[in-house]
């Protein structure tokens, strides 16, 4: 099934100038967002997942950011070359965003209703009255009870989950083509998180939005994503469909992430851990930045950074272990278990 790509990020390279020197936050990120899909960007703090997506909407601070390379194609324009004036027409209309902390992303001095109506008035030239009607219907759609009364209320009168619903209403007000959700459920309780995820999925189907979903929670990814890109030290190290990443992962970092999460079925043996901590991107080490934490590292990992190797048409991973000359290795038990599941899934799909 060939799907059309709606957004295409190519070789994006971003660094920040800091007191201590140049931080190479994003080092050549390439991915396509396909129409109607949810692509999850997974990685630890500092892996570059938020920075990559902020570049899409030109939200990085101009003063100390250098985008030295790359292209971001949306329709037939390169968003990196778009003027900030033109960007204003795209941001919030074609590409909308939801952030982690709904309290800091809402204006505490404006009523919730006014904040939802704003993009409608701004982008769709609606009258105030029409915008209000539309805003109330949006509030109902995202599950805010008593929308007519709550339209007049301020953010502090809403609970965390309700504020995030308000954010979603604002983001979806103009029926965006692309939604970037940056850790939208991380600050919420699990039961509320479940509600928000269900809501996002429902609305996505209704509005046919393509979504980039940033998170570090692999449980959420398993639930919401069609495809997954795993990021480490400013690069995508593995990308594939959700089944490929969860049941047939090829990169040792993905193995480590999956194996270090306790599952409900797990008995209480020691958790598998990735030793050490992520590298400092002030001085990116030579070779694969993951090598020093990787128990499967080969000699070449310390000399040369691996390029993407193809696993299937949809699945790529940047690890030397996929090189034809790489030695056979024993994968962690948790991954073996997952590989067995993959075999059965493939078998049932083949029928």
């Amino acid at each position: 099934m060939e799907r059309k790509s709606i957004l295409s990020v190519k070789d994006l390279t971003i660094s920040f100038n800091t007191f201590e020197g140049e931080v190479n936050a994003v080092r050549g990120v390439t991915f396509d967002l396909e129409e109607g899909e949810t692509l999850a960007l997974v990685g630890e703090s500092g892996s570059g997942k938020s920075v990559s997506t902020k570049a899409i909407t030109q939200l990085l601070p101009k003063r100390n950011t250098t985008i030295s390379k790359g292209e971001i194609w949306y329709h037939d324009q390169d968003l990196l070359k778009t003027s900030s004036k033109d960007m204003k027409k795209i941001r919030g209309k074609d590409i909308a965003m939801i952030f982690q902390d709904p309290m800091t992303s809402l204006n505490p001095t404006l009523t919730v209703g006014r904040q939802i109506a704003e993009p409608l008035i701004e982008h769709q030239a609606m009258s105030k009255q029409a915008a209000k009607t539309e805003a109330i219907s949006l509030m109902k759609k995202v599950g805010i009870i008593g929308a007519e009364q709550r339209f007049q209320q301020y953010p502090h009168q809403f609970s965390g989950g309700m504020r995030q619903r308000v954010m979603i209403a604002i983001a979806l007000a103009c029926h965006p083509k692309i939604l970037i959700a940056d850790e939208p459920t991380t600050a919420l309780d699990v039961t509320i998180q479940a509600q928000i995820i269900d809501l996002l999925k429902e609305l996505q189907a209704e509005f046919d939005t393509s979504t980039i979903f940033i998170t570090h929670d692999l449980g959420v990814v398993a639930n919401i994503a069609d495809r997954v890109a795993v990021m480490y030290a400013g690069r995508i190290v593995e990308i594939g469909t959700v089944d490929e990443i969860f049941y047939n992962p090829k990169h040792p970092y993905t193995w480590g992430l999956l194996a270090s999460m306790p599952t409900m079925k797990m008995e209480r043996e020691d958790l598998y851990t990735i030793p050490g901590s992520p590298p400092n991107l002030l001085n990116v080490p030579t070779g694969d930045p993951f090598a020093s934490r990787n128990m499967y590292a080969l000699e070449i990992d310390f000399q040369e950074e691996p390029q993407m190797f193809k696993v299937s048409d949809t699945h790529y991973a940047a690890t030397w272990l996929l090189h034809p000359n790489a030695p056979e290795i024993e994968v962690p038990d948790e991954i073996k278990r997952r590989n067995e599941r993959f075999a059965t899934i493939l078998a049932t799909k083949g029928e």
Binding site: S260, M261, M266
Partner: protein, 320 residues
């Protein structure tokens, strides 16, 4: 496991703004024991009162009513500096945010060595430094870190420093309030393994407060589920997960996303209708009832039989 209670909590209450319009019963009449050498998990969503409970047990907040007995002594009456020092020597805390809980202007050596000096456990600088080095080693850090400042470390390393500080006095009891929530997944596993290993070495007892049920299950022997200041269910961690009886526990469990796309696709979430489980506060037949062996549920006396049948059903289902 040793069955001596190290801490007994009886009818503990904490009410903010009592008798006013904005009265909040953060902790509403809870009772339980924590046994020596166990890890007791306290889970709940934000606003459930789990952190307030932790603070009450540490005497960081004063209780409104009730009694807490730690190592055979009631903690209410400890008011003098001497009493509090003696009390806190045995009970220490690990906090959620590793950066916010370490003084940025102090070196690691001073942070970890601080408690040793306050409690006059060392007689010289040299002795203190020796102990700091040992503690650093115990939590898996190099002793070369001793002269550096918190900002030079990653979140996981800072949390290790926080743990070393908590361990400095060789306490018997450690309250870990969301000690891993702020850390990345791969680092969480490191810290959890470290805490388990330290427990085995030092005969520690943990109160592990968290909202992440999968980690709590993994680390705890017994778990209490809190909601709106009350304990709704208390059981061994296996029972909580395999035989959850209270509908609130079920709804919490059904909401945890698992890193497995197949099971996520087939997931059935359970909603919790609070109104069905709100009881008249003055009814004497309301409380924590033991449904099966050491498995307690907060309910009305008349509901006990129903829960017993449910437990039986769920246990049957596991065997099949």
């Amino acid at each position: 496991m040793n069955k001596n209670p190290i801490m007994q909590i009886k009818n503990l209450k904490k009410t903010y703004n009592p008798e006013k319009d904005n009265e909040v019963r953060a902790v509403d009449n809870i009772s339980f024991d924590i046994y020596e050498g166990e890890t007791f998990g306290l889970v709940g969503e934000s606003g459930s009162g789990k952190s307030t409970t932790g603070k009450l047990l540490m005497k960081l907040e004063d209780m409104t009513d009730g009694q807490v007995i730690f190592l055979g002594e009631s903690i209410q009456n400890k008011r003098s500096r001497q009493d509090l020092l003696a009390f806190r020597k045995n009970i220490q805390m690990i906090f959620q945010d590793p950066y916010a809980s370490l003084n940025p202007k102090m070196t690691v050596k001073d942070i970890i060595g601080g408690p040793l000096e306050v409690h006059k456990l060392v007689s010289s600088r040299k002795e203190r430094d020796e102990m700091v080095y040992n503690l650093l080693e115990q939590v898996g850090l190099s002793k070369s870190f001793a002269n550096r400042y918190p900002k030079e470390f990653s979140g996981g390393q800072c949390q290790r420093i926080g743990i070393a500080r908590a361990l400095a006095l060789k306490p018997k009891f450690i309250v870990a309030d969301e000690a891993i929530s702020a850390l990345d997944v791969s680092i969480q596993a490191q810290i959890v393994n470290l805490m388990r290993q330290l427990k085995q070495e030092g005969n520690l007892t943990y109160l592990f407060i968290a909202h992440d049920l999968s980690m709590v299950k993994y680390i705890s022997d017994r778990i209490a589920v809190m909601n709106r200041g009350k304990i709704l269910e208390l059981a061994t961690s296996d029972d909580i997960y395999h035989v959850p009886l209270h509908p609130y526990t079920e709804s919490l469990l059904s909401a945890i996303p698992e890193p497995d796309p197949e099971s996520e696709r087939n997931r059935q979430r359970m909603a919790y209708d609070e109104s069905k489980f709100t009881y008249d506060q003055d009814d004497p037949h309301i409380g924590l009832f033991e449904i099966t062996d050491k498995h307690f549920v907060y309910c009305h006396k008349d509901e006990v039989e129903g829960y017993k049948q449910k437990a039986e059903r769920l246990k049957q289902a596991i065997i099949v």
